[in-house]
Subunit: 250 residues, 2 copies
Amino acid sequence: MTGTLYVVGLGPGDRADMSARALQAVAASDVVVGYKTYLDLVRDLLADKDVISSGMKSELHRAEQAIGLAREGKAVSVISSGDPGIYGMAGPVLELLGNDPDVAVEIVPGITALSSAAASLGAPLMHDFCAISLSDLLTPWELILRRLEAAASADFVTALYNPRSRGRTHQILAAQEIFLAHRDPDTPVGTVRNARRGDEVSRISTLKTLDVDQIDMLTTVVIGNSQSRLVNGRFVTPRGYPIAEDALQR
Amino acid sequence: MTGTLYVVGLGPGDRADMSARALQAVAASDVVVGYKTYLDLVRDLLADKDVISSGMKSELHRAEQAIGLAREGKAVSVISSGDPGIYGMAGPVLELLGNDPDVAVEIVPGITALSSAAASLGAPLMHDFCAISLSDLLTPWELILRRLEAAASADFVTALYNPRSRGRTHQILAAQEIFLAHRDPDTPVGTVRNARRGDEVSRISTLKTLDVDQIDMLTTVVIGNSQSRLVNGRFVTPRGYPIAEDALQR
């Protein structure tokens, strides 16, 4: 008997931003596994289903439970916000499952936090960008520093995930300092908390004026490149570099 | 009279991957502007609308047309595949519009190529990543080289957009060479053409065996980091680093 495992991204949270494929996967499942906040986003679809709710810190446990149920032949959705393929559940599920011919896996992509934060701020991601998580739980801090340095020095627009938690406050300050060493202090910085939900808070400040106390684990931070600027209050990065005009005429 | 401008992302192409908000924006519009391939994705919604189809190279012209119509008080959707906020139409529209109180703009995000390619390959974007466009039309090639070098040396998973066109074939070879100087030749590389459409072709090879002749402008290339590996034929990047000290001392 073959089970099915859907790893489903619900996007930023609002129903209108979810794909039909994501909703169909949930509707087609016998069991839905996820953190409570995510389950609440599709609560109306769960009436006839087994629901396994678990805390934020037990991602591996959730993946194991879901795989176990799929191995029994059930259709199981592992749900989360954003895109499960970006810092999400897709990896842990595929790694734990390994080579198992009895379980069919489908990764159902969603609108990632990067895209929803960008839409709230304007158009900051019009040029090359990096995504860097500031959580040093599974990654050496020295490597994170090296990446911040690389992103800042090569003029990437940079999105910071997991920028700051109650017990982890110095990383965002270190990031700010590294970028200040490479970019104009007036470079736009956008912070978006709970993008595209009812309680969204988005702010645009600058590298110099960034108020890190407003930033927590639910915030995505976007730092502009050397060309980023405000257009009518929106954070916009141009598609190219001014000197490119010369290059075109060559 | 206030016009409305929706800048709409349709995701990878299949209707099931589109958000309800994107479809609603198109349905609510008097005029829909886009490249023919994108219009075909929502052709059934266009019966009662003015449709402005234009070629791939006239993005600015398209943005200007759409703004002109919105200034006449119309509801206008500018549509494209993927997410308009990532190398898309959101920036040109906001820049050209400037400060105009008579036009309300809404950026409607979609599932970006990065996410759809990742879902087809497995889970390559589980750790910090960069997106770099190899097109040097508007960006100095020296800056693109600097970014490739930065991404390769700081062990970012790297997605290459616009990797190769008929007349522009050396950039992908230069990228391959730069990554080979920093990573194991057996590092997984995924190429996805027309992700999640009927004619999708996705391949997993390695830095060393990558066949650049298979790559064109419709292909997204994803290069793994030092920890990426194949799990049951899928391209997976772990969420963290197992032996932190080793990663640091290289």
